[in-house]
Symmetry: C2
Subunit: 142 residues, 2 copies
Amino acid sequence: MPSKNKELITELLKSSKLSITETRVKILELFLKSNGALEHADFEKLSGKSFDRVTIYRTLQTFLDKGIVHKIPTTDTSVRYAICRSECREHEHHDHHVHFRCEECGSTQCLEETDIPVLSLPKGYDVRNVEVVVSGVCKACH
Amino acid sequence: MPSKNKELITELLKSSKLSITETRVKILELFLKSNGALEHADFEKLSGKSFDRVTIYRTLQTFLDKGIVHKIPTTDTSVRYAICRSECREHEHHDHHVHFRCEECGSTQCLEETDIPVLSLPKGYDVRNVEVVVSGVCKACH
DNA sequence: AATAAATTGCAACTGTGTTGCAAAAGTATA
DNA sequence: TATACTTTTGCAACACAGTTGCAATTTATT
Ligand SMILES: [Zn+2]
Ligand SMILES: [Zn+2]
Ligand SMILES: [Zn+2]
Ligand SMILES: [Zn+2]
């Protein structure tokens, strides 16, 4: 099972034209292991503090640029990242799915199966992207 | 015109059971003047740096607690606040309107007239609040 | 294996948000 | 209006988040 992930990760990095480094592999492993979004502090904790903070920042930025991960809006100062399953490409993030934040367990999940609804804004507004963040109680905590 | 705002602000503070102080009046004036959401740095700039950072943080937190302002989700580390026009009460923010972020001018606006659409999530998810943030080009920049 | 290119870690720095406490301002009462 | 009481503010100090330049290390290429 872990070796299967490693193959997948190698392929993902190659197809993004990124060199395969320990940090990148480890961070992608954490994304695949976790069932929700992660924020910067999680990587420092989960990785056993083996990586420098700066490296983690830079790796996440690289993954963002390449469309490997996307950000999820929050009302606080934290920045949450989730791995892109499908529709993101380099420098062009379109997350056509809803995000869910559980008020019980604090996890943030991508609801890939739930489409963003169609919105009609007042005239004069040119819509490029729509983000939906739902908060409440998740499946597991219910 | 400015005196009319001042009356309005005084009433607002009184009805929230808050004492009327220079900082609070000034910050509410800035909210009423601005046509979009503001973040912490804006208050330091716009107020002419007359207030201490700490005071601004505490004032915004007080306004949040009293339902005078609400937060708007972002994908970066900034926290944006907008004044509540209607439906918020103490410790209970329900922003049943859409937020718009203009990629040209950088402003964030409350679209009070645009309702949050109805969503159907997978079974087991208990929805308490839905936030919608649209990005694109605003009326003024079009 | 040698070279070239990219990535990482460190040091130093800037910015953001918090807490405790004394001074100042606001409110209530006489 | 003067006084006492309560709340708010500003300062100092701190903890944590994020950035930049540069040299050392790692990865890819030949
Ligand atoms: Zn949960
Ligand atoms: Zn997602
Ligand atoms: Zn605009
Ligand atoms: Zn709003």
